[in-house]
Symmetry: C2
Subunit: 362 residues, 2 copies
C-alpha cells in the first residue's frame, strides 16, 4: 500500500476483547488457527530471526520481528514470573504491523490477550498434526493466565471433552473452573501433576516459573501421549525432564530459537527435531504410530504473532473497531520534518527554567 | 517501579512537537545532548546489541533495543529512500520505554521528529569532543528532513555561525534556507558538494540514497576538518570514499554495529577505530592535533534513543503533556486474563458469518 498519508490504527485491550466477543472465542480461535496453519505452510516466504531478548534479574523483555514480502510485524513481550505477586500480569505484550514497501506502521495493538489466544491456537494446530485423532482427555498443568485459552482451543478445535487440572496454586485452578463453567468441558481437579497426567491423551504444561523445573518426568508418560510443552520458553526456564524428550518424537516451530529457549535447551545440539511447518505441509511425518510419544516444544515464535496481527487487522476493519493515532507525522512536504516545530518556534513559547547544563554556544 | 496497575503514557507527534516548542528547540537540543553525553559515560551500564534489521527491495525496518538495570527502551525505525516520491517521510519511527523490573511499557511515543533531534544532538556531542574548538563554518551536504536539526544543533551547541549548503534537490536547500531564516545562522547556498566543503571546519553529510555513493572524496578534505558522516548508516548505504577514512582518525558509537552499517563497512576488519564513549570519559584521546582529520562515522545507536526517551518521559511529566492508553490490561487478578473476554462471552454476542474454515470439533 502506498498512500500519501500514514494512518496508524490503534486497538486497545478493550478493542481486542470486543473483537473476540463479537466473533466468539471459538470462531476467533478457529480463524487464528487457520491463519497460523496457512502461514506456517508459507514458511520460506518469511524473513525469520530468533527473538532478541534482554534478560534481567526478574525476567526478560523480548522483541519478535518477522516479515514476508508485503507485511512486517513485531511483538514486544515480557516474562516476569514474580509480577503476579504485585498484581501485574506475568506476560504483557503489544505489537505492530507495518507495510514492507514504505515502512509505515499500519496497526498498533495490545497483544497480551492476543498472545494467550495465539499460543492456544498454535498448540491446537500442532496437536491436530501430532496427537492421536481420537484424543478426548487433556491434562492441563499450570492454571494461570493462559490456561483457559489452551483449554478452549483444545475443546473447540481438537475435540477434547475432559480436562484434568493441576496447579500448585489451588486458587488458580478454581478460577479456571469458574471461568469455564459455561462450556461443555468436563473439568476434573487433580491433587498432583501425576494424577492429572494419568490416562490423558494430551498433556499441556503451561507454568510460569523462570526455573529449570520438572513438571513432567519420564515415569509419568504413557504410550501414545502428545505433550504440548508451552511453559519452557526461555533460557533457564524449562518444565520437562530430558528423559521425556529422549522418549519422544520432538517437533518445534523454528529450530534455531527452540534450541536456545525450549525444553530442548537441555539436549545435545544434534538431538533430532522436526520443524512443524514440514509436517503441516506433509513434507515430513508427524506421529508415526499409535504408541509413539509426540512432543511439541512450543516457545512462541514471531510467525504466530504475524498471523494474529493480520487477523486483528482484518477483523478490526470488518467490525469497524479501533481508532487512528498520530504516531507518524503527516507532512505536506516529506522533506520538511522541521515544519512540525516551525509554528511553535514562531509562537516563541518557552518554559523558563527548563534549562540545560550543556553550555549553549550561541 | 512496582505498582498494581500498568499505565502507558502516549505521546503523539503533536505532543512531542509541543514539548519541543514549549522548551525551545535550543534548550531541547541542549538537554538531549547533555543526557546523551552522560549516558555514553555510563557505557558499561547498558546491555547493548546491534540493531535487528529486516531488509527489503525498497528499504529497511529496524528494531533498536537497549537496557540498563532499571530502564529498557527500543525504537522502531525504517529507512525507505524512495518514500519521498510518494509523499511519505524516508524515516519514520516510534519507541517505547519500559520498566526492567516488571516489563511494563510506561511510555509509547512518536520518534520521527525525535530521531532527527537526537541524531543532531549526538552529532553535536561528538563534534564537541572531536572538532577544532574554534570551528565556525560547517558544510551541510544533504538538505532533507534531518538537515535543519543538524544545522541548529551545531549552531546552538557548537558555535557554528555559517553553514554552506548543498543538495542535488535544490528545492530541499531552499526549504532549509526558509526554515532557518529566523536564526542568526549565515546560510550559503553552494552549487556542488565540493564548493560547500571548501574551507569548512566541519563537514556534515546526511543524504538518504540507499546506495554506495561518494559524497566526499579524499581530494575534498582539508587538514583539521571534522567530518560528521550521518547518512552512511545501513549495509549498502554509504557516502564517503574509503580514502577519506584512511586519512582520518575514525570514531564510532558502538563498533560491532558500525562495522556492519557505517561508512566503515568498506574498511578491513582490523581498521582501527575508537568508540566515542572512551573519548567522552577521557579514557581515549579525541583529536590529536590541529591538522588531524577526525571522522565521526555516525550510524544511530540505540543509546541515543534511550536518552531521548528518558528526556521525553521527564519533559512530558514536567509539562503535563500526553495521555494514557490502554495498551496493557489491568486485571483485578493477574492470573485471570480470561476475565477480559468473560463479559462478552456472557453477553453471547456473535457476528454471524465471520466463520472459519478450520473445522470446529465441538
Amino acid at each position: 500500500m502506498t498512500t500519501p498519508t500514514v494512518s496508524t490504527q490503534f486497538l486497545s485491550v478493550q478493542d481486542v476483547a470486543a473483537i473476540v466477543g463479537r466473533v466468539g472465542v471459538d470462531q476467533f480461535l478457529a480463524r487464528l488457527a487457520q491463519r497460523i496453519d496457512a502461514d506456517y505452510q508459507r514458511w520460506e516466504a518469511f524473513d525469520k530471526v530468533a527473538r532478541v531478548a534482554a534478560h534481567s534479574a526478574e525476567g526478560v523483555i523480548e522483541l519478535m520481528p518477522i516479515a514476508d514480502d508485503t507485511t512486517y510485524t513485531f511483538k514486544y513481550v515480557n516474562g516476569h514470573p514474580k509480577n503476579t505477586k504485585d498484581g501485574l500480569p506475568t506476560v504483557m505484550a503489544f505489537g505492530v504491523l507495518a507495510d514492507v514497501d514504505t515502512g509505515a506502521p499500519e496497526l498498533l495493538t495490545e497483544l497480551t490477550l492476543t498472545t494467550a489466544l495465539r499460543t492456544a491456537a498454535m498448540s491446537a494446530v500442532a496437536a491436530r498434526a501430532l496427537a492421536r485423532p481420537e484424543s478426548k482427555v487433556m491434562a492441563l498443568i499450570g492454571n494461570g493466565a493462559q490456561s483457559e485459552f489452551q483449554a478452549l482451543a483444545f475443546h473447540y478445535l481438537n475435540g477434547i471433552e475432559e480436562i484434568r487440572l493441576y496447579d500448585i496454586d489451588h486458587a488458580a485452578t478454581q478460577k479456571l473452573v469458574s471461568n469455564l463453567a459455561h462450556t461443555r468441558l468436563r473439568l476434573v481437579v487433580c491433587s498432583s501433576a501425576r494424577e492429572a497426567v494419568r490416562g490423558a491423551d494430551i498433556v499441556t504444561t503451561v507454568t510460569a516459573d523462570k526455573t529449570n523445573a520438572v513438571i513432567l518426568s519420564a515415569d509419568m508418560i504413557e504410550p501414545g501421549m502428545h505433550i504440548n510443552g508451552v511453559g519452557g520458553d526461555c533460557p533457564g526456564k524449562t518444565e520437562i525432564h530430558p528423559d521425556v524428550l529422549r522418549a519422544s518424537n520432538v517437533f518445534v516451530q523454528y529450530e534455531p530459537q527452540t534450541r536456545i529457549e525450549g525444553d530442548l535447551q537441555h539436549m545435545p545440539a544434534d538431538f533430532a527435531v522436526t520443524e512443524l511447518w514440514r509436517v503441516l505441509r506433509k513434507e515430513a511425518q508427524g506421529r508415526t504410530s499409535e504408541k509413539e510419544i509426540t512432543f511439541f516444544d512450543s516457545v512462541g515464535f514471531a510467525l504466530e504473532d504475524y498471523s494474529a496481527l493480520c487477523c486483528l487487522r482484518d477483523l478490526a476493519a470488518e467490525l469497524g473497531l479501533g481508532q487512528t493515532v498520530s504516531l507518524i507525522p503527516n507532512l505536506a512536504n516529506p522533506k520538511d520534518l522541521f515544519s512540525l516545530i516551525r509554528p511553535q518556534q514562531a509562537a516563541g513559547l518557552r518554559v523558563v527554567g527548563a534549562g540545560a547544563d550543556f553550555a549553549l554556544a550561541a
